[in-house]
Amino acid sequence: MNKPVNQKAWLLVLPVLICVAFSSILPLMTVVNYSVQDIISPERRVFVGTEWFASVMRDRELHAALARQIVFSLSVLAVEIPLGIALALSMPASGWRASAALVAVALPLLIPWNVVGTIWQIFCRTDIGLLGSAIKALGLEYSYTGDATQAWLTVLLMDVWHWTPLVALLAYAGLRAIPDAYYQAARIDGASRLAVFRYIQLPKIRGVLMIAVLLRFMDSFMIYTEPFVLTGGGPGNATTFLSQYLTQKAVGQFDLGPAAAFSLIYFLIIMLLCFILYNWMQRLGTPGRADK
């Protein structure tokens, strides 16, 4: 069934447009404005055209940060999506146990991001932290501030701890929406657990999984606070992701022009990647969608 055409629907969208215009279009235009000017002082500004863009594009540190970012985001997806699905499958369907499991699993989501960083800081320090001391007691060298690989892995572990619950919640909600009849039919056919998962559960939760992948991808691509608190982007630049780099430029060095040009490029990269992902998953999801 197709939706009726109704241009008056724009009126319903209007409040959202006003809200988002105030907090998104205006600031974005300011960024565009900055990106083509050299602001020497509030009164003196010079139009420099695309100079900032050119210099940002040639910035080697930016390339490195982008590469780190992509590897990080893909690792996040590779760990969190399967783990989230596995968790959702193992959660009880109803009763107090379901409620308790939901709240326990979801708890890390509700912790402010800098507190997440703090928690992991006091958890991983070798002098006062549980994990840090435990690893040290095993006789292994561990320092999330000294060793680049370990810092990177610690940040990844923190992200998995922090965000797998989101994937699990979404997948769980998707699973609960599957009518019992499907499972009964599968039982009659003598389907194995694997077959039930492959042919019933997975296709049915494809919609929410799409949301989960998109959300996790977007959010991991703009991760800032947690590594900022935990490692401060170090050691060296090992955990400096794009947002860190941008904030360093914009707030730390107050390079408005390059920071703005970088912001726009960053924005475009994210939009492009999400557009591809979004369309790809929409296409993937279309044949199986119940409402089509």
Binding site: S23, N114, M218, V251
Partner: protein
């Protein structure tokens, strides 16, 4: 069946460890934290919580955070409701592009908006107010609310709308008396996510406030950077930031369980 719940139990146990460690530390004194390593506090103390609950520079942080998070959640959900209805029920010029454009706002790193927000709010005199943070957080919460609500609304049969209109209901009356109760769960989930993302955000909240509306998350960073880490107070403050989230999630647990994006599955 047994093996599967084992995974869940192990996962929950592991994921509780960092939180447990923070709670553990919040009941110790700084001296004890640095001198000895124990799984339970040797000298149990409420002193850290006392510090926070009696010092106004600490507890006002919680009040500020709660104020702007509430304003933000109310505005986000109210604005998103009609828009989500429009997206789920009608085709109109540019609807798909508009929807994607909204999503791009959810994807934009807050760092991109940092400077412009700072300038914009300075110009119109909103700096260091709760409203400034609430408005800034609309950028990612409104699109999310629209997205979630649209999913829930699409799960409601369109015949209900049509029947109501035939029965002579006006749009506002139909929407508030019939439609809204039907998507109660969706509103709950949307509000929950708006609350969550606004509550946990640090970068914008910290930049747009200085004294009057300083959120708790920013108060905590100040302590982090202060000379001589006050681990115990920091841990106690951290524990207190987790509590509102735990309460909120307890209220919406049924709704989340009932099916997140019913229409999309």
């Amino acid at each position: 069946m047994k093996k599967r719940s084992l995974l869940l139990i192990v996962y929950i146990a592991l994921s509780m460890l960092p939180i447990y460690w923070m709670v553990n530390m919040s009941f110790k004194s700084n001296a004890e934290i640095l001198s000895s390593f124990t799984v339970l506090p040797l000298h149990f103390t409420w002193a850290n919580y006392q510090t926070i609950l009696t010092d106004s520079s600490w507890y006002s942080g919680y009040i500020n955070s709660l104020i702007y998070v509430t304003i933000n959640t109310v505005i986000s959900v109210t604005a998103a409701l009609p828009a989500a209805y429009a997206f789920s029920r009608y085709t109109f010029l540019g609807d798909k592009h508009l929807f994607f454009w909204l999503l791009t706002n959810r994807m934009t790193p807050p760092a991109v908006f940092l400077l412009p927000f700072f300038q914009l709010y300075s110009t119109i005199g909103l700096m260091d107010t709760h409203l400034a943070v609430a408005l800034a957080h609309l950028v990612f919460n409104v699109p999310l609310a629209v997205w979630i609500l649209e999913g829930f609304m699409s799960g409601i049969a369109r015949e209900i709308d049509e029947t109501a209109y035939i029965d002579g209901y006006s749009f506002p009356r139909f929407f508030t008396t019939i439609f809204l109760p039907l998507i109660k769960a969706g509103v709950g989930v949307a509000a929950f996510f708006c609350f969550m993302f606004s509550w946990v955000e640090l970068l914008l909240a910290r930049t747009l406030t200085s004294v009057n509306a300083k959120p708790i998350v920013a108060t905590m960073t100040r302590t982090v950077s202060a000379a001589g880490m006050d681990w115990a107070t920091l841990a106690a403050a951290g524990v207190l930031t987790v509590i509102p989230g735990a309460i909120v999630i307890w209220f919406v647990r049924q709704h989340i369980a009932r099916g997140f994006a019913m229409g999309r599955v």
